[in-house]
Symmetry: C2
Subunit: 139 residues, 2 copies
């Protein structure tokens, strides 16, 4: 189910807006951040991605003009990711259709009880993964 569902939703996102799911994730997080900007390290925390993955992703998105990298004045070794005008427009256009896609293929098919239970299960599994010495991101 996971594979099929994710594949379908991702395919619709790509078809409708030309964004990958990774693009979408970064754009959403940045669009909600003050100043549409965020430290790289904070982005890896929010997305649960590795530094490497984020770096590659930002490189690709920078090439497509969705984000910009800036070195913050107060810390030379850090790196901010900043949403561009274009990136903001893209996420604002894409979001409604994507939300609707997830609803249509998943949320609307479940009862409230099922959603509640799924939330509980998710919380438990994630807690177990993170506490059992699981650092997916960095060794």
């Amino acid at each position: 189910m996971n594979d099929l569902l994710a594949a379908q939703v991702i395919r619709e996102l790509a078809r409708d807006s030309g964004l990958s799911d990774a693009d979408y994730t970064v754009l959403v997080v940045l669009s909600e951040a003050p100043g549409h900007r965020m430290r790289s390290i904070e982005l890896t925390r929010r997305t649960m991605w590795s530094k490497s993955r984020l770096s590659h992703q930002l490189t690709r998105m920078e090439g497509r003009g969705l984000v910009r990298r800036e070195e913050p004045a107060d810390n030379a070794r850090a790196c901010d990711a900043v949403l561009t005008e274009d990136g903001l427009r893209r996420i604002e256009t894409a979001a409604p259709a994507h939300v609707e896609s997830v609803r249509r293929h998943f949320i609307d098919l479940l009862t409230d009880d099922e959603l509640d239970m799924l939330g509980a299960v998710t919380e438990r599994v994630v807690a177990h993964l993170t506490e059992t010495g699981e650092h997916a991101a960095e060794p």
Copy 2:
């Protein structure tokens, strides 16, 4: 949860047995097939993969000596995938640890009720995906 859980289980599989999840899938299906052999087209059906993806996967696995390709005598345009001795040994060694990994990180954390519910949800969502003209594999 999906992403984290899958990442963890896949990482353990790779660490313990040197197999990717795609490798594992193919090996399991083939090991259960009569004669440890199966038509490519049947493999795509079982795995819900595209022809292309399967072909690339078989090429890689063939390079590593896990499977062999054979042209069946009765049909020149078809193609059988056959498990090698090595492939069989690999899957037999890898399977127990993988099953245990899934149990430990997921199954054992859920109650029977939750598992039942998840089964029902999965069935419903997959049915919706497949009936709504969704052919993930081929356009």
